[in-house]
Symmetry: D2
Subunit: 115 residues, 4 copies
Amino acid sequence: MTTRDETTAATLDADPVQGHGYTANKEAYLRRLKRIEGQVRGIARMVDEDKYCIDILTQVSAVTKALHAVSLGLVEEHIGHCVVGAASEPDPDLRAEAIDVKVKEAADAIGRLLR
Amino acid sequence: MTTRDETTAATLDADPVQGHGYTANKEAYLRRLKRIEGQVRGIARMVDEDKYCIDILTQVSAVTKALHAVSLGLVEEHIGHCVVGAASEPDPDLRAEAIDVKVKEAADAIGRLLR
Amino acid sequence: MTTRDETTAATLDADPVQGHGYTANKEAYLRRLKRIEGQVRGIARMVDEDKYCIDILTQVSAVTKALHAVSLGLVEEHIGHCVVGAASEPDPDLRAEAIDVKVKEAADAIGRLLR
Amino acid sequence: MTTRDETTAATLDADPVQGHGYTANKEAYLRRLKRIEGQVRGIARMVDEDKYCIDILTQVSAVTKALHAVSLGLVEEHIGHCVVGAASEPDPDLRAEAIDVKVKEAADAIGRLLR
């Protein structure tokens, strides 16, 4: 959507050094995703070796949980960075609109996680 | 747990050809897991390239949903294969116990998915 | 759906005394649902009294968790009663069909819980 | 926790008219919760009348979904009201702390919803 892209661009323009909310923890996220990727590969190996279905399900639940933790971290950083960033916009009209966009984005993303 | 392992062994002994419930769809599961692994790698790439957090969250939700679909398939096959297999045990005492074990395993696995 | 209704009728005809899987625990389910109803009323009271949104959210999560526990109990009893009941059908053709119907119903219900 | 209560008090002091984020939609929330309460009572009636377990499960899923929608509304309003309110605090030290508290509360609440 153009609205979001423009807002994103605005956020980046306003704060080119800090980047996104998760940038400070980028290495930690990459390590966690690397581990999740390995877990998914492990599940494929279990299927390939005809492991017991319940044991495979336990591993799938573990990966889902790890992904939820990643999501939660990203949502927290979106709120603390993007929403708060929008709330710091000096122009009150732009601010109200930027807040609406960022809060709506957060809520939509949380809604997708809950489904 | 020994209880489960023994039951697993019993199931395999009783039916070495059919394997587990998911064996018939093994290739399909491996393809799906391969795709999920690629999606996780794609998320790591998005983080590495400082993509917008909400877009990353959308991808994480997609992977979670794909994993849920895999779980659901495995649960369905566990019920249709392991639970039904236990219910076909000719000795009534062994049958009652085998059913209890398999139903409990299914419920525990579903409980882990819901959490 | 007619298919399900017919199967349901068949199950009830075949076993009029035992009723459904949850019948043995009917009183316990009614007590749990009564408690959940009270919790929902408590949340409405919190909203009415302008309680802090996070405290309301905590209560909503508690109700959701209690409902998940009820669901899980019903699913477990569906598997242990309806699926196993279908697997005990003496006529092999009717049995295969009955199992398919009951397993599919269980998987669909679990799928709805996961969404 | 005292920290939260103090912050809450501060928020209310700062803005006694607006109340919480959900206050503007209070009547709508009360109506939705009333409907959910009725749905839970309907489920109890289904159990009491020995309705088919899968039909009960479908209703439980519907209530869970309705509660998720309520949660999501409350989270959205918490972010748009409490987090943004904290970001508008003029004193930079108080602001940083207030934002941290509110963002952490939001993330914890979302984490409880995901579990």
